[in-house]
């Protein structure tokens, strides 16, 4: 047992830090730091810079651009990326559909999709959730009827993140309506430009537009877009959901926000003194920092354990990372709200080319929207209630 990073690992950390902080444009990273929404272009730009260095899809198989990094390297890569406020490579591409294609698709599909997916030439969105299903994902009803060499898709997906930017959607569809719940589901890739697809934005309480409803009305999809076998889609979905869950703790993001909280708390004055000198405020912050440090160590333990696990078998301990990670992220957004105080009140959506001056200090504009927006992190990707069910069953045997 050696709980310190090796010299090689420390060197890798330095390399990653330098790369992220010099190669990814400051302008994009500042937006992330300040909590502003990123444009499609920002995300594409950043991912292509990473991909040019081979760092967009390090967890993929080597032949498709992966890096064969050790768990510790993988961790350092994520941590430095998040602390440098570099946007994570699009998770729908990198952590979701990419690994599924690499594992289950045929060679033709791999060649067609993987390089473009790594370079964000194709922007993917995820067609899993449906209005009637919620946490009970397998009760989905969107149907795909096989007619000749096509599927005819009908139904509705929801909570589809950034569908407005997407070129393709990877979809769970019901291909055998007579089979029971988890059976009869297939994994289908659909070009968003196909006739019959309609995207309707859902405005969220932070004022942003991150998620959408996607409607399928007799959408014709070539049968060659089926991944793997028909009616085996649920297996691929489970593989996808269990893939590379260690990033979900988002420790680096919370570290970056704590740094920002401390900087801003040095600017805000309360009773004539900077807020950061207020012992009560510092203790609240310290309590979160302690939990975050513990989470980081927990993440490292899960990461180290991953080497020993069968690939693609999710480690149920990753549910802990989700549970605690989401709560800590949310706490940091609350602390940021507390720092800016009344300045959090004006609603000033960030717009490119805004004319009017900002009301109050510029650093305060995103505090409330970020707090509102981050309520989602304990809901999406399997709500914290679902995570508790998983841990109760898979780890505690209850």
């Amino acid at each position: 047992m050696d709980l310190n990073f090796t010299p090689e690992e420390r060197a890798f950390r330095e390399e990653a830090r330098r790369f992220f902080r010099t190669e990814v444009p400051e302008k994009i990273r500042r937006k992330v730091e300040e909590g502003h929404h990123l444009s499609k272009e920002d995300i594409v730009t950043s991912q292509r810079i990473l991909n040019a260095r081979g760092w967009a899809v390090p967890a993929w198989p080597r032949e498709w651009g992966g890096q064969d990094w050790s768990p510790a390297q993988m961790y350092l890569y994520q941590d430095e990326m998040q602390q440098a406020n570099v946007p994570s490579p699009l998770p729908f591409n990198v952590s979701m559909v990419g690994p599924v294609i690499a594992e289950f698709a045929n060679e033709e599909q791999k060649r067609r999709f993987l390089p473009a997916t790594a370079n964000l030439d194709i922007w993917w969105c995820q067609g899993f959730s449906e209005p009637g299903a919620g946490s009970d994902l397998a009760s989905l009803r969107t149907s795909a009827r096989r007619v000749g060499d096509k599927y005819i898709v009908n139904g509705q997906k929801t909570w589809t993140t950034l569908a407005q930017h997407a070129d393709w959607i990877f979809n769970l569809v019901r291909t055998d309506p007579s089979a029971k719940k988890q059976e009869g589901i297939s994994f289908l890739l659909i070009d968003m430009k196909t006739h019959g697809i309609k995207v309707r934005p859902i405005q969220t309480i932070d004022g942003g537009h991150e998620v959408n409803e996607v409607f399928f009305d007799d959408v014709e999809v070539p049968a060659e877009n089926l991944v793997g076998e028909e009616n085996k889609g649920w297996d691929y979905a489970k593989f996808l959901l269990g893939h590379e869950r260690t990033g979900i703790a988002r420790v680096g993001i919370s570290k970056a926000r704590i740094k920002r909280i401390k900087e801003l708390a040095a600017l805000e004055r309360i009773g004539g003194r900077p807020l950061i000198e207020d012992q009560h405020f510092r203790e609240k912050l310290a309590a979160v920092e302690i939990e975050l440090k513990a989470l980081e160590m927990t993440q490292l333990r899960v990461v180290a354990d991953e080497r020993k696990r069968e690939r693609g078998k999710p480690n149920p301990a990753s549910s802990i990372l989700k549970l605690k990670g989401s709560v800590i992220q949310q706490l940091t957004t609350e602390l940021l709200m507390e720092v800016v105080g009344p300045h959090a009140m004006p609603y000033q959506p960030s717009e490119e080319g805004r004319n009017e001056p900002i009301i109050g200090p510029e650093y305060a504009t995103e505090a409330a929207p970020t707090y509102f927006n981050y309520r989602k992190v304990s809901i999406y990707g399997g709500s914290n209630e679902i995570q508790r069910n998983i841990v109760a069953k898979a780890i505690l045997g209850l």
Partner: protein, 377 residues
């Protein structure tokens, strides 16, 4: 000790509750928000007709002689509907300041106008550096031509975009955080530069710039802080009542959702873990309701230290209960709770802003600690 409403209070409650039920469903609220000023002038007239706009003023000024209990009844109903009209700014804060600090003449001139719906008021006290400290005032007033002029900038003036008259806190002497040397002044909105904007919860505010603006003092121009504090304390009590309405609405929406939303073949309200969390929300709601009552009871307390202790405790409880209930309401709704298409998220945002107004739960707990707490001292 008697928690029953009088017949008049019961009547008032019935009529306000009916108004909110009939006119303030979620779709209507969206319509009101889409109106040019961000709220409904038509409803404002109806409030006037129902006597709500003059409720807390003496009958001699066109009011109905109501007290903190009456205000609580109205504010709680407004909270349930997430009402966006400038009632708090105009009647509770503005009217309260005129009533408590104004001269006979000022009261006779303005209170009837408020009661009839003709005049809208706003209280301009926040400054960029002031956070939650009413005494932190750098805006300055000076005498000129037998009157007063004010120079400075006020921030986040609630409904300051539509107010006809502003009540402005300004320093006549002393340095920024001195308790002495602060006056309250009436300023005609035409004499200031203002920029209106929406707040996070859909209500509106304004940045106000006073450039040698003509001003008329309310009360003593050298020492108005304590009367401002008194009115603000009562207003916090009213805000607590509104918050209880907001929380109750969030809790009811959550219960409805738990009972109707089905997953895994049954209503999600069948799941015990969610039931227990709904119970904890309910306990938080009842604790908040209790403290709103306490604040109402103490709003007119004459000993300012006693009053402040009670108000600050109530605001802290409201903030904590509201945060707990709001966060849980969103969580138990799941994704739908995150959308603008559903009421609960709007309630969550309103509750979050109420927590911030006049100091969040943390700030008030800190203040109460400094004041020595509530018991055994």
């Amino acid at each position: 000790m008697d928690f029953d409403l009088t017949d008049e209070q019961r009547l008032l409650k019935d009529s306000v509750d009916r108004l909110i039920t009939e006119r303030y469903d979620f779709e209507s609220r969206n319509k009101y928000r889409a109106e040019p000023e961000g709220w409904s002038r038509a409803l404002w007239e109806q409030y006037a007709e129902l006597g709500l706009l003059g409720l807390p003023f003496p009958e001699s000024y066109g009011g109905f002689g109501g007290g903190p209990v009456e205000t609580m009844i109205v504010m709680e109903a407004f909270g349930r509907g997430l009402a966006v009209e400038p009632y708090f700014a105009t009647v509770v804060l503005g009217g309260g300041l005129i009533h408590q600090a104004g001269s006979e003449e000022q009261k006779s001139a303005l209170l009837p106008q408020i009661a009839s719906g003709e005049a809208l008021l706003a209280f301009a006290h926040v400054e960029r550096q002031s956070r939650y400290d009413l005494a932190n005032v750098t805006t300055r007033a000076h005498r000129a031509d037998g009157g007063w002029r004010i120079n400075g900038e006020k921030s986040i003036v609630l409904h300051g975009d539509v107010a006809d008259q502003l009540i402005v806190s300004a320093r006549t002497s002393g340095s920024p955080s001195d308790r002495a040397g602060i006056g309250l002044f009436l300023v005609d909105a035409k004499d200031v530069t203002r920029r209106g904007y929406p707040l996070q919860d859909g209500l509106r505010a304004a940045e106000v710039k006073l450039d040698d603006a003509r001003a008329e003092p309310l009360s003593n121009p050298e020492g108005a802080l304590s009367v401002a504090e008194q009115v603000v304390d009562a207003a916090i009590g009213a805000l607590c009542a509104e918050a209880v309405g907001v929380m109750q609405s969030m809790h009811e929406l959550t219960l409805d959702y738990l009972k109707t939303r089905r997953q895994f073949g049954r209503p999600i309200g069948d799941f015990q873990a969610l039931q227990h969390r709904a119970v904890d929300m309910y306990v938080a709601l009842e604790q908040a309701r209790s403290m709103a009552l306490f604040a109402t009871m103490m709003a007119a307390e004459e000993d300012p230290a006693e009053r402040r202790r009670a108000i600050t405790a109530a605001k802290a409880q409201i903030g904590r209960s509201g945060r707990h209930i709001g966060q849980e309401a969103i969580q138990l709704h799941g994704g739908i709770g995150m959308t603008m298409e559903y009421k609960v998220g709007h309630a969550f945002k309103r509750m979050t802003m109420i927590d911030i107004m006049f100091g969040d739960a943390g700030a008030h707990t800190e203040e109460l600690a400094r004041l020595g707490g509530l018991f055994g001292t």
